[in-house]
């Protein structure tokens, strides 16, 4: 954040650079390379995230199971969308989970009533979340700074409270909504009593095929690859937004809104558009969540969920392209893997040490793992804010520079792998 002003001119050079290069899908060389790398990583994630054989003690660090990989992608989309608002315009929304929740509710109603196909559900989720974002954004964007944060927080908390209490006929209240055997969508031919499953033109989202190689077990899940395609599209769109004149306008809002107004530009339509796009991303993430796991509850809209996406974007690197995805991946990985490390596992690890030392080390590590993983998260997050305002992406750049991978002038190195 400190170097925001200094990096702006460098970023200003980026769109012109990308306009010259007519690489893949109209992206400049480096952006195209980034997209391709992400696509490859996502495609082969079931292998990459499963580096340890099933039988080894390290197997619990494997993240290559469909449920978690889907969450990486979905929260990646959520964080990309949040970053379009926060990273570009600097408006810190503390109520983004509301759009995710609204999108989820829209998607599940589409599945309950219209069709079990996920495409209409996701589209409906985006539309409803977008409309809700127009309403919230129109009001909230009248103020900026902390007032904007409080306004968005207020709207999200209101949505949560209402979904929890008064809107129970629509939201299912505390228990939330699931697809039940009594639901019979219009465009489906379910046998009576059959519980509908989310599908894409007949392809069940839960279909998985497994591949066993040596000690490794790789799972390829249909839902994961559907989510992967959606995520790549979302990522591509966000690159285009970052590189577009519209993206430049949003950066102008962040660096000096007053000057922008003085030059005769009205910043409100730009910020509102960014807010709505960002809300639609959240709706998309919510819709996908329902598509992968057909249920939804109001806790998805609670302010801690909004706080989580803020953590993701900042941890990865706000204002960069890949940062939010990295942040989302890291937090979800920690949530799922770190929280599994209990005392028993720790004792197993340090079993080679003398008993006294073993117990001592386990006692020290104990608060940071298992149920205490939030502590580790909080510490890492604080460290990132204090030392690395640019997040993991900045860490990567610094490490790259130390090893001489980055170019000599910071001007060139700051420009890319970051974005």
């Amino acid at each position: 954040m400190v170097d925001q002003t200094t990096t702006t001119p460098q970023r200003a050079a980026a769109p012109s650079g990308s306009r010259q290069g007519t690489g893949l899908l109209g992206l400049g060389g480096k952006d195209a390379a980034l997209l391709v790398i992400v696509a490859i990583l996502v495609t082969f994630a079931p292998f990459i995230l499963n580096p340890f054989p099933e039988t080894s003690g390290l197997a619990q660090f494997n993240a290559g199971y469909p449920d978690l990989m889907q969450r990486f992608l979905i929260f990646g989309i959520f964080a990309i969308g949040f970053n379009i608002l926060f990273g570009l315009t600097g408006y810190l929304s503390f109520g983004h989970a509301a759009f995710l929740g609204v999108g989820s509710y829209a998607a599940i109603w589409s599945m309950k009533l219209i069709t079990l196909n996920i495409i209409p559900a996701i589209i409906l989720a985006m539309i409803v979340a977008g409309l809700f974002a127009v309403l919230v954004g129109y009001i909230s964007l009248r103020r900026s700074g902390i007032y904007f944060s409080i306004l968005t927080l207020a709207f999200a908390q209101m949505s949560y409270a209402l979904a929890y209490s008064v809107l129970t006929p629509i939201t299912g209240g505390e228990t939330g909504l699931q697809i039940k055997s009594t639901d019979n969508p219009l465009l489906s031919n379910l046998a009576p009593g059959e519980i509908g499953r989310a599908n894409l033109f007949g392809l069940d989202m839960r279909t998985s095929s497994e591949l066993e190689v040596g000690g490794w077990l790789f799972t390829f899940n249909a839902g994961y690859y559907v989510a992967a395609v959606v995520m790549l599209i979302a990522f591509y769109v966000s690159i285009r937004i970052f590189r577009s004149p519209f993206g430049m306008m949003l950066r102008a809002v962040k660096s000096n809104q007053q000057r922008m107004n003085y030059t005769g530009l009205n910043s409100k339509p730009y910020t509102l558009a960014a807010f709505v796009i960002s809300g639609m991303y959240a709706g998309l993430a919510g819709g996908l969540m329902v598509a992968m796991d057909t249920q939804v509850g109001p806790e998805r809209m609670f302010w801690t969920a909004s706080g989580e996406v803020v953590l993701m974007a900042i941890l990865g690197g706000a204002g960069t392209l890949i940062g939010p995805v990295l942040g989302a991946g890291m937090i979800k990985y920690m949530e799922n893997i770190l929280s599994k490390i209990n005392d028993q596992v720790l004792h197993q690890w340090f079993a080679f040490m003398p008993d006294g030392i073993e117990d001592f080390i386990v006692t020290i590590i104990h608060p940071f793992t298992g149920k205490g993983w939030h502590l580790t998260l909080g510490l890492i997050f604080m460290a990132v804010i204090i030392f690395l305002p640019g997040g993991l992406v900045e860490l990567g750049q610094r490490v790259g520079r130390v090893f001489g991978i980055g170019r000599k002038s910071t001007d060139a190195s700051a420009k890319t792998p970051a974005e």
Binding site: I150, L153, S165, M382
Partner: protein, 343 residues
Amino acid sequence: MDAIILQILNGLDKGSAYALIALGLTLIFGTLGVVNFAHGALFMIGAFCAVTLQRILSLSHPVIDETRTDFLGNPLKVDVPYVYDWFGEATGQAIINWSVPLAILFSIPVMILVGISMERGLIKHFYKRPHADQILVTFGLAIVLQEIIKAFYGANPIPTPAPPAFTGSFDFGALIGFDPNTIIYPYWRLVYFAFAMVIIAGVFGFLQFTTFGMVVRAGMADRETVGLLGINIDKRFTIMFAIAACVAGLAGVMYAPINSPNYHMGMDFLVLSFVVVVVGGMGSLPGAVLAGFLLGILESFASMAAVIDLIPGINQIIIYLVAIIVLLTRPRGLMGRKGVMED
């Protein structure tokens, strides 16, 4: 009429807590210009000071009681708190019962220490950084603090009773001429309200009538000039941070009997306190207190059955609704000053 008075009374204790936290937040914001998201955690630490003192005082050692036997006929072992040994049984029991008020004395040094180390160790490095960074780093700190508390005390609420002298309820209706038992109000909540008023008066008096307070107020108005006059304003602001931490901590100590402390109580209150601060007007101390009580009372009015029948769900959203309306109609909040956080 009696229902209305009852709701006003019910709003007072929650309003007091909001007002005290919001007062501390505003003090920190007004002096240091820092938006402190860890302030709720300070409230929580205060509440756990009460829990800790109660546990320390109840520390006991087993003693074989010859007069009583268990079902096998062996002498029974009973736990005798150490305070019984030192002060005799009656005094010892009284000390344990009064652990919450005693925790006020215990919490003041603890909170000053926590406050100073927080300001010197972390927050001072963030004066020059954007508000968003300050919010985020203190948010991270709040997570860390509440997880530390959770690691020590577990995730369940810990009941911390008030002294037996205050357990009953006070028949307020009979005092002002209503039928008995129409308006009854727990004594401890009354104590809490009085305590909050004393603290608020203390803070305002301190700022208004001492030389130290005068310098701090001058620093709030124009930090640079005060610095140029040769006054070490940073040191005074650090002390103000410690005082704000103390206010939050004391609010937490006294709130422990009303609501059993758990590790996330700070965050629950923080979100609402922020709304309170913004409604009252960023940087305005009277505004924070006023908005605290106002929103506390509004919240309890909205919980009346008659109101809920009229507008379902209003009790859940009233505070946020008020915040939205106030922010849109009075952008600076109820009593906000010109030029404070108007970006």
